[in-house]
Symmetry: D2
Subunit: 350 residues, 4 copies
């Protein structure tokens, strides 16, 4: 696409899970990226195409072999940036030495998303492992914190549920169109969101022909969702957030309901969303009455947002759909990478 | 099970759809039923096992052939009861002459569920075809209207969404535990709920790996849900009800959120549900924190109900799961039939 | 169904897997069975309804608790028969003491299906643990070895693949209609066939939208398939048997192709199948051109068989479909139990 | 990829089906293509993004509107090439005037794949509509007929089943390694292969949890498969070909079995495949024992081929997997387009 493009040496730490796989897919095709390190404790020493057969024969794959997640070894590859696709808790342990070695870190875990270490401890059941870094970490939602991302050394890239809940609500809260005390959210996630781990409840025969709620009533992601909604509302927000597992591999659908403030019209809702996202390349506004479908966003970095005003109850219903592994994980992280390293926001993503 | 059991001659009108198929399955195995008529405009003249190969070789299937849905012909079979599994609007046309011919009618459509013909017209876009029958029709939710069902000539058996929404809420509204102005409901339905009709949006390749809301914000079933919740609350109830199509064949999961009245405890919630359903054979209460899974109810007439009190927001989260074609259609109708004709409530259903 | 029925005290050993669950489901409803013991090393001490929520509220479930698979303790319950739903190798260890304690053993593993211990060692990579029992074990395919099952002390109940391959072929081999040197078989199995074990390749996100062959070219079940086909043909049979994993929970479909002997007509094929299975209550012959569909047999003990003569190549194509956990496991074992203990063949199975 | 690239004006005729959608997806991203016409009788007048919401916001989509499939109007757009994604029979009617107007035609239907009009009539039940064009049409399998494709005016691009069957067999037949009289093939296809047409058997609730064979024993694609295998073998080939519908949206898996000629080794099989496809960018050879999985090729133009020699029977088992809509339809057509118009073979396809 571009004649001359700077190439950024890039590491993916924890590349053998589902988000890691999507990161590899996107970064291999990104014209401004040279993948110099892939790590996986479990797959160290094996070739990328052997571990992930879908990459056989792709350009740039032949030399790639998984290495152990040793920060010194990662830094020695000359990587300027590391994406971390690791479990929470583990990510911070790797982030600290990589930052010290001068890399930019884009962390897909929850470790640096919560500004307040007390909230982290409440929701994650252990003390924060590196509280000194929380102040400088930037919550990596490009549509909300785009300017800060450009300067960040540590980007805490948000995951699937928070993205799908926060993006539709922020413009309405900022504009004061809804009553923040009335928000309820119902999310449905594909099974890949639970990760590639051997677990009976995630077996095909357990998930197929099944729908079930889980982590009710206090899912861990509530902590970051409330943090960001509070920021947008300028006042504390607490909401009810219910998560469900449904039998799709990829995709999240979130339905959010809130009471409109008196006198707020459907046009005002549409206006606030259009103003916020009219220029956002990955937010597609479907208009009032539009119902997003996960199948139209899976495999892409788009989030589709539709809405309806329920005149009978004075509420707005917000509907959002995204690929949980792309806009909800790897794609969003690459979007922040693009901002941080001066690429066009959509580079490598469309 | 029983030594001597009265046998009721039974007709199934509109037996070739998904609810009809489940009715046939249940009635063929019901020890108190003799199936004397199956109708289908489309399949008239064909044998049951030819149209529905899963019934090949079942006891009692060999002589059964679909006939046209002619009320006189149905009455001539000597049927004492007719189950109607027809589209709304059409059901009333058949119900009237069957009632006149002296049959008990158990209608699975929406035609006789709404007491107020103005509400029917508002939600179904046409005048009610037989308003004179609305007063005597009984809303066929056995756990709520069990006594009236025993005497009814015309039972309006509720469908999948209303059952899953109404049953968890009725005890809490009756006991005044929740604020009726705060109810929001999020339902996820399997694709069989849309019926066996040739339609591109219902194709496998359109529904698989897809989640989408539809009929937002004013699904037709809101009318009967609000009617029944209003009755339970003793005051008008309006709620937000959002329906989603998910890629399972059978099953509905409903998540309902409402604000608890000040001072209401988790124990009070549990107590109200236990009091209402402790003796109800098809309602399984999973306790606080219990999350129902559709896969545990599919193929059965059970509805599983779990709940959680969200202390952070003062709300209750109600979770319910049922088979949309059984407790949400055919099974519920047979349950009413059992009450109406003096069988044990679970006869033919376990 | 029956006025007075002997009740057989029954144990299910290894009841927490998928086949075990189906055994429990069928035996709980069987009018001639009293379940007196359920064992599971992993779930010992927990109640049945707690481990398998779908059984909550079923008649007879309340008192049932998993116990350790201790043969003496099982025998002490007074059980007259034990169904073993254990991995191969483990089953034999439990079978021996149970037989010594006087129980009839119906083993769903492969341990006693192979008459020749050398063949067992070749296919299962270890010496047979109890070769002295092989001579008296009966291969529990009721449609083929029905008479011997009535007298058996040890029934080796065949699994899903062998049943689907053997039943269509036996009548044609016995009648000499096909050339036994030309048989090729292609089977597609649902994921439950691999068992309820934590395993990454069996995750929903790995199996959904996926089809793959496995255990090519020498699946372990070839050993028993060839044994039974050799018996039917009266001469050694070797075949090619390729197994595939497809994204359904339950169900197996097998397509078998073989060259017809010169001059054999379609009518001869139909005649041989009709003669063999005309009176078999669980074999449904769909006729020439009939294509079975797993969805019509799932949840039942039926095997549906269709076929076509390919005049262009002189071959017959045999198509068979069954529920891998019922006719391919638990149902078949109960069918043998019925024969062994003098119940009607379909008791508890329709 | 390329600094300066000729841009070919391109029409897609019949763009609203599943293959058409994939053509649009690939062509919109192809650096050497300008899409100038999309036709659909049903969607004429509607915008692309309205009809196919997944394309909203894509570069190049905004101006695209479906038009009627009028050959003169298509030619008037200046298109140099037209892809036809139409039903057989209809395609020929459009191809003739487009060829006369000077366009290159790449037809994805079966209309020009069969050289012998008598064979066409036998398999498609009507006379060929344009037999005069059959001699010049080139069977568009780039790995087999690459040289002729470069010069072709009319390319008959093969579909999903034939590609998956022909590619693994051609090298073995050419090298005389297998006995052509012994080939049997078992294919499993995703439901999108049946097209986007309102049809009850293709509903989610009919296809989910279902596997079934169809078009047994004489599927229409046998005609072209046998034509191409006969060409490779240099002698008439007749095979048994059984097709199955499985519950995946995309993907085909084919398992082919044939007897090896005496003395043929596994190394000879591997050598013939490597020689034929070592330089083919879209054929990935997995080696002996390698089992392809459709999930690794879906969304790509790859076909993965694995194989095993069954020493016990002297047969080779060939396993192939592809995306039925890409390598089995749209991608293959674009691959031929690349050859025909001088682009690199992988342009726009990786």
């Amino acid at each position: 696409m571009v004649g001359v493009m700077t190439t950024i040496k890039t590491a993916v730490v924890g590349a053998s899970g589902y988000s890691g796989e999507q990161l590899v897919r996107l970064l291999l095709r990104h014209p401004g990226v040279e993948v110099v390190a892939l790590t996986s404790r479990q797959e160290a020493g094996r070739g990328l195409a052997e571990v992930m057969p879908r990459f056989r024969g792709w350009p740039g794959v032949d030399g790639l072999t998984f290495m152990l997640p040793d920060p010194a070894a990662i830094a020695a590859t000359g990587a300027a940036v590391a994406f971390l696709a690791l479990p929470h808790g583990v990510a911070a342990e790797v982030a600290v030495p990589l930052l010290e070695a001068g890399l930019v870190v884009i962390d897909l875990s929850a470790d640096f998303r919560i500004e307040d270490p007390a909230v982290y401890a409440e929701f994650y059941d252990h003390e924060h492992p590196a509280p000194g870094l929380l102040a400088e970490a930037v919550y990596g939602l490009p549509e909300v914190h785009g300017a800060r991302i450009r300067e960040a050394r540590l980007i805490a890239s948000p995951g699937c549920y928070p993205t799908s809940v926060i993006l539709p609500l922020v413009p309405l809260l900022r504009a004061g169109l809804i009553d923040p005390a009335t928000i309820t959210t119902c999310s449905m996630s594909g099974v890949s969101g639970a990760g590639r781990k051997a677990s009976v409840p995630l077996l095909f025969a357990e998930c197929n022909e099944s729908v079930r709620a889980y982590s009710v009533p206090k899912h861990r992601h509530l902590s970051e969702i409330e943090q960001e909604l509070t920021r947008a509302a300028g006042a504390p927000v607490r909401l009810t957030f219910t998560t469900h597992l449904i039998p799709v591999t990829a995709g999240i659908h979130t339905t959010t309901v809130a009471a409109l403030r008196p006198g707020v019209t459907a046009a005002a809702v549409a206006g606030a969303l259009a103003e916020a996202y009219g220029a956002a390349p990955f937010v597609r506004l479907l208009g009032e009455g539009g119902c997003p479908d996960t199948k139209h966003v899976v495999g892409t970095n788009f989030i589709d947002i539709g809405w309806a005003v329920d005149a009978r109850t004075g509420r707005v219903i917000l509907l959002s759909a995204e690929d949980n592994l792309i806009k909800g994980a790897a794609g969003q992280a690459v979007q922040s990478f693009n901002r941080r390293f001066g690429f066009g926001e959509t580079t490598g993503l469309v």
